[in-house]
């Protein structure tokens, strides 16, 4: 094949590449961007043009409580998830491969099992007459069943359960990227295990913790299913409130405005995460 012929096939590569993006752009443009923008528009036009929906949302104590709850739950879930995930990721990063693949199998099984199935299991496990309460009473630890469901405890347990894999898996990557020799060097320098953890291991895993934690926080903010099923009416979260406004109250204006607030907060945190870790790694875990 001649040089000219080769250039001939190489030349149209760039436009050809762009045309490959067309189906995706049409799909996302028409069925994602347009509907979301239409929703935004509705938040300032329904029932009448103006910002009254936002004023209502931000000025009312009940709504403020929902916002506060949403952030509180997301915050608590993130902290607990990070604390639980770190030791597991640490062990996963260094344990023998055979043991690690069993643990990875358990994590994937939990992650791939239907979301409603998992939540249903927790509903049964956590209810007043559920296994956990009975076991605790049977063991003589408590006399009265603990209120584990329809409150913050239930939501936290259910959400941490769902978020753990999203924290553990990227963190394993971060920890595996740390050279074990660095920690050996720290030990020979005289650092006790605690000092080596505090001064070396923790700072070196911090980027992974921050990225994973931010992702968990963002996901928790907008989570609907688990809080709706495990949470109580007194601590409703934003996503559930939005669904209710649309589905039960048919208040499109207010619902759209609340959705827009959730969108702005989420996207702002997502942008922050992108700046922290770069676009590739931010979404690379899936």
């Amino acid at each position: 094949m001649s040089v000219e012929a080769q250039q001939g096939i190489a030349a149209p590569r760039v436009p050809a590449g762009l045309s490959g993006l067309l189906p995706a752009l049409i799909l996302i443009g028409l069925f994602f961007v347009v509907p979301v923008l239409a929703l935004l528009l509705r938040s300032v036009t329904d029932p009448a043009p103006g910002l009254q929906n936002y004023a209502a949302l931000l000025g009312d104590g009940t709504y403020a409580r929902v916002f506060f709850n949403t952030f509180l739950v997301a915050f608590v879930v993130t902290i607990v998830t990070v604390l639980v995930a770190f030791p597991v990721a640490w062990m996963l990063a260094i344990m023998p491969p055979a043991l690690a693949s069993i643990l990875f199998g358990i994590i994937i099984l939990s992650m791939w099992t239907n979301l409603l199935t998992r939540t249903y299991a927790w509903m049964v496990l956590l209810q007043r007459t559920g296994v956990i309460n009975r076991a605790l009473i049977g063991a003589g630890i408590i006399d009265q069943p603990l209120p584990l469901i329809n409150n913050l405890t239930g939501v936290t347990i259910g959400m941490v359960y769902i978020m753990l894999p999203f924290m553990i898996l990227p963190l394993v990557g971060t920890l595996r990227a740390i050279d074990p020799m660095t920690l050996r060097a720290a030990a020979l320098c005289g650092a006790s295990p605690l000092a080596a953890f505090r001064r070396i291991l923790l700072p070196l895993s911090l980027p992974g913790i921050a990225a994973g934690g931010l992702m968990v926080f963002v996901m928790s903010l907008g989570y609907f299913v688990t809080p709706a099923l495990l949470g109580g009416t007194s601590n409703m979260m934003l996503a559930e409130m939005i669904a209710q406004m649309i589905q039960s109250l048919l208040n499109w204006g207010l619902g759209s405005a609340a959705a827009f607030i959730l969108l702005v907060v989420t996207m702002a945190l997502y942008a922050l995460q992108l700046r922290l870790v770069g676009a590739r790694r931010a979404v690379g875990g899936a």
Partner: protein
């Protein structure tokens, strides 16, 4: 030493103990639900007073469960095919293309994964109401494809980035047309990525609850919608039976994935 498994001493015992607890925590609901589905107590007492298959009989006797499962399978299959096809084309452009705003476009295509589903759900619900697509199979498939697209693009683009393009060029120099080179050289090389994309986008649709809740009509509901409805009315053990079948399906999928990956990698 903190990263030397054999040199952790008592710390290893403590950390392994904690890890075992977390593993148990992760397994607990899955195992529990399977055991419960064979328990004879309608009130979900545990440990169950006896063992039975009646919840499975009840499940299979109810045509609405079967119907919902078939609907879900149909929608998820179509979603996976669409998402992988569109994702494959897009990945080539995103990885190979040399144009401005590439990163922005990549970010845009991945946004549906980040945006809270509830926002998208009400947006597409309102949109489809106007278009008359609410409660239709097409509506479901389109909405689910939007949500599944990032899960298709990420593994394919990752695989494509790891593929040395000069191999494709070599095929072209050998006389293959660019399309032939892509079909016969590049696609087989990134098949693990394509395969992962298919699994992930199938699951993204199969497990999707929120959009489905809004979109479902009395005549068209997916399995998650059916479960959701049952959960809200009562915690019948039939849900446990249905859930156990879903767990079995997940396990089967994991095994198939593991086997296929091993086969494709060699």
């Amino acid at each position: 030493m903190l990263l030397d498994y054999d040199r952790l001493g008592w710390l290893k015992i403590a950390l392994l103990g904690f890890t075992a607890l977390v593993a148990a925590f992760l397994l607990l609901p899955v195992v529990f639900i399977v055991l419960l589905s064979f328990g004879s107590s309608r009130w979900l007492a545990f440990p169950p007073p006896g063992w039975t298959l009646k919840w499975y009989q009840e499940l299979f006797a109810d045509p609405s469960w079967i119907e919902a499962a078939l609907t879900s399978a149909r929608i998820a299959t179509m979603t996976a095919i669409l998402a992988v096809t569109i994702g494959l084309l897009a990945s080539f452009a995103l990885v190979r293309g040399q144009f401005r705003g590439r990163e922005i476009l990549r970010g845009l295509l991945l946004t549906p994964m980040v945006l809270p589903v509830v926002v998208f759900a009400i947006a597409i619900y309102a949109f489809f109401l106007r278009l008359g697509l609410g409660g239709t199979t097409i509506g479901f498939v389109v909405a689910h494809t939007v949500l599944a697209l990032p899960f298709a693009i990420i593994p394919i683009a990752t695989a494509l980035e790891g593929f040395d393009k000069s191999i494709e060029d070599a095929a072209i120099v050998c006389g293959a047309s660019p399309l032939q080179a892509k079909l016969r050289i590049t696609l087989p090389s990134i098949r693990i990525g394509i395969f992962s994309a298919a699994i992930f986008s199938f699951l993204a649709s199969w497990d999707e609850v929120v959009v489905a809740i809004f979109m479902a009509s009395p005549t068209l509901q997916t399995l998650p919608v059916k479960i959701w409805g049952s959960l809200r009315s009562d915690l019948t053990p039939v849900i446990a039976a249905a859930s156990s079948l879903l767990v079995a399906l997940t396990l089967a999928l994991m095994i198939v994935t593991a086997l296929l990956r091993r086969k494709l990698q060699t």
